[in-house]
Amino acid sequence: MTSERPVVVVIEDEPQIRRFLRTSLDAHEFTVHEAETGKQGLVECATRRPEVVVLDLGLPDMDGVELIRKLREWSEVPVVVLSARSQEADKIAALEAGADDYVVKPFGMGELVARLRVALRHSAATGEDAQSVFRAGELEVDLLNRRVRRAGADVHLTPTEYRLLVVLVKHPGKVLTQRFLLKEVWGPGYAESAHYLRIYMANLRKKLEADPAQPRHLLTETGVGYRFDAGA
């Protein structure tokens, strides 16, 4: 983690995509190791000790979701998944297996690098002692005193809204699936009551966002879940 150039393992079977990822990530100051197959990818992850993994879900020898599950048995390294559009179910499966984020193909390099940096930051943050005060833009969440402020003014949240906000800010930048959020905030019995989550999220946005229809922090990943964007 002290290395100047973060180590990334790219697991992708398409040589063309591997080539441009290597070139561009290299240009963005990453040390890139490539793997063509799932098996090889797991070996690379074990030997290179990457700080972040880029994983294509469609591999020839192994289901990407399966790979994440295996990886999670011994590593907490952030995983960013590459997936095709209109595969919400795959994305959700990958996220629930332990992936941190996903990028939809075709993607711009800028987008991928931004996601990778967020993931790196996130893992760095959880690596340290948990922060007691969380700041994002004009938003401030004081976990110790259970206080939330927006532009310096106290905001009153109901207990559920507060619990939801806390789960989100504790995983900045990471896409949290609906099921995960429901389980964390309401308990395991509510996994299917997605509209609870949507209503409370709408309430949170009304209280915390300047323009609730075009939020800046509490972002929707349609069909998948939500993401807390701490903002640059």
């Binding site: 209109s86 109901t158 997605a194 949507r198 009304k206 609730p212 229809a213 972002l219 349609t222 069909g223």
Partner: protein, 912 residues
Amino acid sequence: MSDSRPDPDALLARVQRDERKEKRGRLKIFFGAAAGVGKTFAMLRAAHAQRDAGIDTVVGLVETHGRSETIAQLEDLEILPSRMVEHRGGTVREFDIDAALARKPGLLIVDELAHSNAPGSRHPKRWQDVAELLEAGISVYTSLNVQHLESLNDVVGQITGVRVWETIPDKVFDEADEVELVDLPPDELLERLAAGKVYLPEQALRAAANFFRKGNLIALRELSLRRTAQRVDAQMRDYREDHSIDRAWPVSERLLVCVGPGERSEHLVRAARRLAAGLGAEWTALYVETPDLQRLPEGERDRILRNLRLAEELGARSVTVGGGDVAREVVGYARAQNVSKIVLGKPRRRGILRRLVSSTVDRVLQGASDIDVEIIGTEARPSTLAFGLASPILDRSRTHLGVEQRPRSDKLRWPGYAGAAAITVACTLVGALMHGRFEPTNLVMVYLVGIVLVAVRFGRGPSVFASLASVAAFDFFFVPPFLTFAVSDTQYVVTFLVMLAVGLVISNLAASVRLQARIAGYREQRISALYEMSRELAGTYQVESMVRIGVQHLAEVFGSQAVILLPDPGGRVRHPAGDSIAGSLHGADLSIAQWVHDHNQAAGLGTDTLAGSDTHFVPLASPNRAVGVIGLLPANPRRLFVPEQRRLLDTFAGQIAIAIERAQLAEDARTARLQADTEELRNSLLAGISHDLRTPLASIVGASSTLAESSEQLSPAARRDLAAGIAEEARHMSEVVANVLDLARFQAGAFRLNLQWHVLDEVVGGALARSRGRLADREVKLALPADAPLVELDAVLIEQVLVNLLENAAKYTPARSTVTVAAEANPGELVVSVSDNGPGLRPGEEEQVFDKFYRGSPESATGGVGLGLAICRSIVEAHGGKIRAGRSSAGGARFSFTLPQKAAAPVLEAEE
């Protein structure tokens, strides 16, 4: 006048006959007067000649009877293996028709055309096997003795005193392509017999002494010669017709034979056939169905059916007409059909009775004064002899299912007589009350009322009984001297006679009224059953429900377990899938059903084909195609084969077939339309895509090759420009591909709506976030309901709709335009609109824009295949909503769509 020109109908018939003949195999019959004349030998010799002429000749079955000359003939011919059949404890060698059909030789030798196959064979008779072989295009050589010809069977029986059971219809003989008479003078035959060269079957051995008498052999020889000559005569006639030498045959005769129950009719039918053959006339067997039909015992009714079938087998057309008076119907039919000769049996009544009551024959003679009437003498004959040619149907079905014949209305009779007795007793009691106060003649009236009651309630027998009992009781109780049957006053004898006569007349009248009513009731039942089914069939469009309706009605009306088997696309008949229906038949024999389907002929129980089956199979054939097969397993087979029921079954089958064909045609049309649609979509997709993919590809290849090959010469700014161009075009291509894939997915119906409760603002927000790049230099205004309502929709898809509409707005408006997203939650419906203040749609364009590949400005460089709005429409319609285009208040375009909200949004308890 152009009477020398051939009759077009005859010409057509000839052409059809020739056509049929061309495809069919040819049948040659080696015909002889008796066993031992050398038919098999002659046949095999001819077979050799054919084989030597290069014809693929195979022996199907030949009975050598151990004769060395015949065996020598067989030696160098290919012989098909026979089928060994277990029959009555022994094994019987039978001809294997399937092997023959599989081998498909050019010429097949099958001995003994009149042979009856062992039970369980496909056809009961060998001539039917041969007919199928001919149908399959295989030529056949076969042998036949004169005594086996149906029409001559009884004559031969009379001459020789031996009646054979195995007969073939004359039609087979007449329609054979060639008949070769194998003739041997009686003396030589007797010599051969004496020399032991003639094999005789066991039963013939017993009769041999009688049979092979010189006189018999001469008679048989004459019969066979004459029959052959008749055939030659017919051929000559055909030849004349074929060559339009028609003057010799001015008008063809028409013959009508009247068939009734009784064995005399069988004789009558044969006589008519001989007469018709002699005259070269076509002939019809007529049965007049009077109300008496219902009164006849079952055995008699069977016999009518048999006689009609016999007539059919002998080449007649059989007709049944309904009516009260036989003579009037016969004459009426004869006139209507232009019959030249009526054949009737001699009346049975003789002497005075005949003079008192005129017989049917007399009345026909009176009515048809202008038509020849031929009266055929009849002879009594032991009925066992006639049994041999009984139609196989009824005997078979009876013995096969072990259904015993039961006296008709056995169960009704006893209560009937008991009731008659009770009513007579009641009348006597009433009479006892009236006695002394009324004249005895008035008591007679009471009894008559009783007799009427009995007649109406219990029918003829009991009412005759009541008449007699009433007279007796009246005499016993009310005529002095009382309590004896003696009569003191003779005038009471008149009273008794009149009373009895009136009683009997009433009985008859009432009983026949009752009968008429019952017949009318049956008719009514049949018609209403048919109507009921037609009505239900008309009300449905699906084959499955038609099959269900058909099975239900068939099971009910025919007292059978029923099944309707439909063929799969490959033409193989299949058991129906799915739940079984009440009354449905399981495990029907598919191989028989397949045969029925292929040959479009009934088979199984009660037919000539595979009669050993317990199920009756009828083809479901519409005028245009074979639709399927009905299988019926009747609880009581006899009921199914009454003529009325058979006709009814045919009608039912016709109705069901037409209904199913209607459904199948509709289905075919739907499939064809769907295919045409798909085809059209594919074509326009190809056309659209190829343009929209090639253009960006061209610029990508151009720009990237420039970068790859001459990067050094380019300034950093130029390089960036080229790269940005590549990125832009690639993104565009990806959009096109994504749209095409989406649309294909929607069109294929391969997606499932994932309806959930969503907060409207969030869905709109998601769309805006995705379109942010495209809308960068446009102002976006939102007009959403203040309370952020919960709406039920598929968020991913509706977000796609909004993205497409927003990008559409971006595409067709100038920079710095305003785009407004508005929504309204009406009761039961959500309305969302995206409008702009751009140039708007051209008039008339409002519907077109949702078509695939429609573009606002086809010539412009504005990208897109024109699929965006088509996708929007698919998605909105999948939600049950509507999308429309129009003019916005700001003068630009406005797209709005509705999403029905059927359920009430869930309510959450508020915290604190």
